[in-house]
């Protein structure tokens, strides 16, 4: 019995001893592998993150550059447009007489913020009325306004001005569109056309 008991004890001790001898290297191996893997993983994350950030940054900078170029191009176009407009207005004679009786003075100077003067006679039925007023630029619009003291009160109006120069036939057409009718004979939406010959 005693021999058997000692045999079992020795066998158990062998297992415990083997476990103790293996546990140390096994745990160390697990720790080293885990540490090494995470270390490499951290380095790779930082590397790929910088690539991602750099890519995002470059595409952002490209977009910014494209936007800047577009702005510059737009600005250049606006500048050209303004130069063209300045040239267009500068070519207008100081005094112009339309084929249907309007006298227009200093229209070329409206681009500088000045007011151009106009006068014409308007016939409604048997009656002829005097109209005088000014044209000026307000914001992005060009507007006209009849002069209260110099226009017959029945036809007083104000509104929008449109103009077109035809280089081919050398004519300049001015449209006065009534958007505010102060007199009882002028109607909202009235369009008065005046054609000038620039030749």
């Amino acid at each position: 019995m005693l021999t058997k008991y000692n045999g079992l004890s020795q066998s158990k001790f062998r297992y415990v001893s083997a476990f103790l001898l293996i546990a140390g290297p096994a745990v160390f191996m697990a720790g080293a592998l885990s540490f090494g893997y995470n270390k490499i993983s951290g380095i790779r994350i930082a590397q790929s993150e910088w690539s991602r950030y750099k890519k995002e940054r470059n595409s952002y900078l490209d977009a910014e550059k494209a936007r800047l170029n577009a702005d510059m191009y737009k600005e250049a176009l606006e500048q050209n447009k303004l130069q063209e407009a300045t040239k267009y207005f500068a070519e207008m004679p100081a005094v112009m007489n339309s084929l249907n009786g309007m006298t227009l003075v200093n229209f070329g100077k409206v681009i500088n913020g000045e007011t151009a003067q106009y006068s014409y006679k308007l016939t409604i039925g048997q009656q002829t009325y005097n109209v005088q007023g000014g044209i000026r630029i307000q914001g992005n619009d060009m507007i006209y306004e009849d002069d209260y003291s110099k226009t017959s009160p029945e036809v007083m109006s104000s509104g929008e001005v449109r103009h077109e120069k035809n280089a081919q036939d050398g004519t300049f057409v001015l449209q006065l569109i009534t958007t505010k009718n102060s007199g009882n004979l002028s109607k909202l939406g009235d369009v008065r056309l005046f054609t000038f010959s620039l030749k």
């Binding site: 160390f28 540490f35 910088w50 991602r52």
Partner: protein
Amino acid sequence: MNIQPHDIKRLISSYKYYIFSLLLFIGGVKLLSLSGAAKIPECSNPNVLEKLKYVISSNLSGEKFSGNKVTSIFDISEIDAATSSARSCRAGVTIEGSELGNVNYMISISAPGSKEIVNIDTSLD
């Protein structure tokens, strides 16, 4: 009972493999405890420092991805022991030729979707 030096020597000699195994076990446990923090990149990782330059430059100019304001980073050190989620660092920064002084920053990792991203937080200052 008196323990003589040769007794200790004999004891060590008898159990040297067990002692070696125990040392390995302790080392292994230590490595396992450090492995969580190992995933957070080092303070001096060149990729982290490169991003840090841009993050600080952007903070200074208020523009996204603004660069070239921070010209160099020096004296990089770790402030506290890293945890499994973040590492706090300190570095000197030169901005357009003049020394700004120390900037504290925190490196952490977040994983939006399947991609892990290194976050650098300079708001520790």
